[in-house]
Symmetry: C2
Subunit: 663 residues, 2 copies
């Protein structure tokens, strides 16, 4: 066997990994405006030499910038940069042996350890040699200063050799020999609303202001626009509308999901398309396109964003059916297949066939649906059942759309298995529905939040917590009534900085379940309802308070700053969120029926709370203030009064306490 | 902006990941002869279609084989193959939508759900079309059978359409349209001894048989060979010798690490090289090369393997110093740098400079050192301080050596930080020293073993647990005396299937520590000692028993089958190891001073222990048998009698119990 050639270009420094990185760098990590991107690198070298590392980063439209990385612990180095512009950032890491720092550190130990004078002088010569090489290779104006230090070293100047300044000079002009460079990785910079937003969902056709009439009338988007100031006042950021398109008549579903609609019943908005138009039209009874444009304009004037529901399926009456029968699956007899999950049949809905022979024209048309609504001022899309369309379609469609419009937000409604939900997030969805609705016990909530926030999933999956949707009314809300609604609202709005409510039934604690189904009775999917929009006995005041608290406290505007706090009770869940000086402590009694009490055990040191004096916790819901000291504190919560505290923790300076004491 | 081109070659199936995979596939995963390689793939598809997946694998010398992957749960598919040959295996995964299985599943639900006859007939036509396409595209002899089934479907034969046989036929001949294929990943197949071995370290120069003389004489390798039958009888698999080369005279260290040796003192074997030779010579006092060859031959005849210590450093007297001064670092005055960690100086040792201008000849020479000893029958190398030489050197050197000799085993003695130890394992070391010595409490042991066995680290890092080495005598052994030695021996030999002892002081419970140092007094590194090799009051009988137990019980011969068992006491640690029917339960009292008792809580279901009848636990150390039933059982251990049980759990069949009852 011939002798194998030796490696070329080897480096003593090994780059073990960089973070954030999703699937070996196949997908970008997600960050948002207002966040920092902290980049980590695991770096090692043989022996005891010191490592220098720098981070290169750039926004796609800007010049590359460079920043020195710092050693944290356990061979992990970091640097951070602020996310200030939408679009893609890229980063890479470079590292090498910091020869001068290594030399200076050893030299200091020689001097302090009392090496012989001839040894010191010999070492100074080696230090000088390092500086001379830097001086001869540098292109900066530091060459002279480096040479001057080298002269001083050679003249035996121990003091100068130990200076901080010569270290910095040498580091700045290090020839970076044998540097190792990482691959380049991407970060997707989303709008702030992808991270911090409260969504309010309602059916515009139920927007009539009065509930006193007998049968409610089908409202228009102009009626719905009258509700916008109130939604804004409640503190929501995004108004989300179920589909607003013409609704099919063939096999139209009736009230309570009856297989056949009676005369005058409006049908499900998800049975999209009729002779009046399809995915690019507004239902005539909602007032047509002009009304929609007025609705968007009114919302935007209130600084509310409008989110539209995009459901890629059709009613049998959709114009696509006649114009593009090839976009659907056909039976051997030429009829079009309706949706089925045998033996169940959904004859009012035709799925689109994303792998038909005509897939290319279908994909382009689907993309153009988004573009149409973008043209009408919509920037946020809640996508219905994305997991029943090919992942490759979404990857292409979202990437293309966000390249042209980096401010878009896509929320995936994929109540599916974990890998499927995570894949949709990786390929581009910047918000995702979650299993939050089905996580009701302390253990379930803690385990789920740790998966979402404390693992690599947090790099690409941004949860949006919904206590309810038109499709989901969980038993916890059914049986727990008003206290349960308060509990789940507090949890959703504080465990996740992005959350949403299907508003009208939630605020009115309408918890009547359809028989045998995990959804609402008199479901608005199938009928127009009327709501008492200004009922102050509803949960509206609490919703307003909570959204106010979220806007006032930066800690509640981020995702990954959640830390659970030990409590003695299986019914009491507690957690902190911290951002800079802003520290929020949430305590919730998860039992909607009974009072529970117990001790909290706060990790004071991790929270920067001094252990030598009291601190104040101020309940932002009820307004009460408590003065606590030490880690262990008592809490008692009666769900019928208020099942939760949202404490702002205020650590006073000594001066403030003095003031209190002496007044 | 021009319309972006649509993707080509997209597949509905997404391969989320495959396992095992180390650093995105940069390094092979490690397995060993006698193990299975289980390959996992995370696979998803839009909608509710069924996925088919197959695993391709091959040994580098063999043809590729293919096996169908099975769905386990949560979208994870697996297949396994046995590791039967040394060297590299590769694998890759292919997956596609299983159209016929999807069709048949839905068809079955249609039939059972009572679809109309015309619907059933229509579906049968679609099933027939799938079979006809498979028939026309297949190259196998199944084309006719497929066509016959298609005929039957078209004739309306519902029963035939539901057959298992037609499913298998269709799957075997699936055109695999739109298949997705993973990258190819490597698995390194190591010898069984890399996974299951007990190492015995001793200094051959201390091999004199009698301790009765005054000052012990320097023994030869022929004297040492006389100890081999005894080491074999104790049940060890590998005899590991510290360096056996000529020892330098310049700055030779004396007894107890004295800076200067007195006349006649032998010096440290790690100060390698003298006028008699260097890394390819045997110390004359050990009997020279012929004696070494006889030693290896004797060991191999007993089915013992010899492991050599490879320490790439020299004494000032090593022939390299004169022949290759460029292989060393030189001071400005031309003298060679000795080893230093300022202000400490190690003047008896010269480090080699792996990045000198002459690095290429040095690297080749270092590789040739291994090749020299391979030529003398050595297959196992314990490498001293590998983390002070470049990682790139080891990567190249080990890969080259193992390509020619896939039966080699390299044990890394890198007592360094985690990332450094793990990098050495990734790049090729197939055994590693660990932090085991410093993990003495229940919490520490559990946490550390979980890191080693239950994370991705287990894919590439194979621990070798050592309770002591010539460099390390932990305080636990110093203060805990004989019970502590028993405890640590049981832990090392059962927590890891690869373990080792620096034998002579361990078996004699010589726990005298050098003042202020975590190492032995009268350290054999600096002096010849004599040991009472046949002392039956020593721990020899226990060592023999434990090695016997390890050889008799396959469960103790694997790494990743370790599961901790809850106990009520912080002093009692318990764990199971299971391989097939062989189930071992170890319980250890970690307190070497006091008796402790408590309840064990066995997860019977996970262990395949029936809950409806008693089972027997048989202590393989003491011989006692206990009859337990249910998960909760009482244990009491007195460290002065025996601090540990190694139970074999024997689940009798009902028949066996009947026999007991009626006798």
């Amino acid at each position: 066997m011939p002798e194998k050639k030796l490696p070329t270009n080897w480096s003593r420094v090994v780059l073990a990994w960089v973070k954030p990185k999703v699937d070996d760098g196949k997908w970008p990590a997600k960050r948002s405006i207002g966040e920092d991107a902290t980049i980590w690198a695991g770096l090692i070298v043989d022996g005891h030499d010191k490592i220098a590392a720098e981070l290169f980063y750039r926004h796609e439209d800007d010049q590359e910038q460079v920043d020195r990385m710092q050693l944290r612990y356990n061979d992990e180095y970091f640097a951070r940069f602020p996310i200030e512009k939408l679009g893609r950032y890229t980063y890479r890491v470079r590292a090498w042996v910091d020869q001068f720092a290594t030399w200076q550190d050893q030299f200091r130990r020689r001097v302090e350890g009392g090496d012989e004078e001839y040894e010191i002088q010999s070492e100074l010569k080696e230090g000088a040699a390092l500086l001379r090489r830097a001086s001869s290779e540098t292109t900066s104006s530091d060459a002279k200063a480096l040479a001057a230090y080298a002269d001083a070293f050679e003249a035996g100047d121990v003091k100068k050799a130990l200076e901080r300044q010569v270290l910095e000079l040498a580091q700045n002009n290090d020839p970076r020999e044998g540097a190792v460079v990482s691959d380049t990785y991407e970060i997707d910079a989303d709008p702030e609303l992808a991270r911090f937003a409260a969504w309010y969902e309602f059916f515009p056709r139920s927007a009539e202001m009065s509930s006193e009439k007998g049968s409610p009338e089908h409202a228009t988007l102009d009626d719905a626009a009258h509700l916008l100031p109130r939604i804004k006042e409640l503190g929501f950021d995004i108004v989300y509308l179920p589909p607003v398109h013409p609704i099919g008549r063939t096999h139209r579903k009736g009230k309570d999901n009856a297989p056949k609609a009676r005369a005058g019943e409006p049908g499900s908005p998800w049975a999209i398309g009729a002779k009046e138009g399809g995915h690019k039209a507004i239902h005539p009874d909602l007032g047509g396109m002009k009304a929609f444009d007025r609705f968007v304009e009114k919302a935007n004037s209130l600084r509310l964003q409008v989110a539209l529901d995009i459901a890629f399926q059709t009613s049998p009456d959709h114009p696509y059916v006649k114009a593009h029968p090839d976009w659907f699956k056909q039976r051997p007899d030429g009829t079009i297949r309706y949706a089925e999950n045998p033996p169940k049949k959904y004859q009012d809905v035709y799925p689109l066939n994303f792998e038909s022979d005509e897939w290319q024209s279908l994909w382009q048309e689907m993309k153009s649906v988004f573009e149409f609504w973008i043209g009408h001022g919509v920037r946020i899309f809640r996508v219905d059942n994305p997991h029943t369309k090919p992942f490759a379609f979404w990857e292409w469609c979202i990437l293309e759309l966000r390249r042209a419009h980096p401010d878009l937000i896509f929320l995936a409604e994929a109540f599916s298995r974990p890998k499927i939900m995570y894949q949709l997030a990786k390929l581009g969805y910047n918000n995702s529905y979650t299993y939050f609705t089905w996580r009701n016990t302390k253990e379930e909530i803690i385990e789920y939040c740790r998966e979402l926030y404390d693992t690599e999933i947090a790099e690409f999956f941004r949860p949006n917590f919904w206590p309810n949707t038109p499709d989901i009314l969980h038993e916890y809300l059914v049986h727990g009534g008003r206290p349960a609604h308060v509990i789940r609202l507090v949890l959703a709005s504080t465990l996740s900085s992005a959350y949403g409510l299907y508003g009208p039934p939630y605020e009115h604690v309408d918890n009547r379940q359809a028989p045998g189904r995990e959804e609402y009775a008199n479901n608005e999917k199938y009928e127009v309802r009327s709501w008492s929009w200004n009922d102050t006995n509803s949960l509206q005041p609490l919703m307003k308070r909570i959204n106010r608290i979220r806007h006032d406290n930066p800690a509640l505007q981020f995702m990954r700053n959640l830390t659970f706090v030990d409590t003695d009770s299986p019914h009491l869940i507690a957690y902190t969120k911290k951002k800079g000086d802003n520290l929020i402590l949430v305590v919730v009694n998860l039992d909607p029926y009974h009072e529970h009490q117990g001790m909290l055990h706060l990790p004071l040191k991790d929270l920067d709370i001094p252990t030598d004096r009291p601190y104040e916790v101020h309940d932002l819901i009820g307004g009460e203030r408590y003065y606590w000291s030490g880690p262990n504190n008592f809490v008692k919560l009666n769900p019928h009064v208020s099942p939760a505290h949202i404490f702002k923790v205020h650590v006073r300076t000594t001066r403030e306490w003095d003031f209190d004491y002496y007044m």
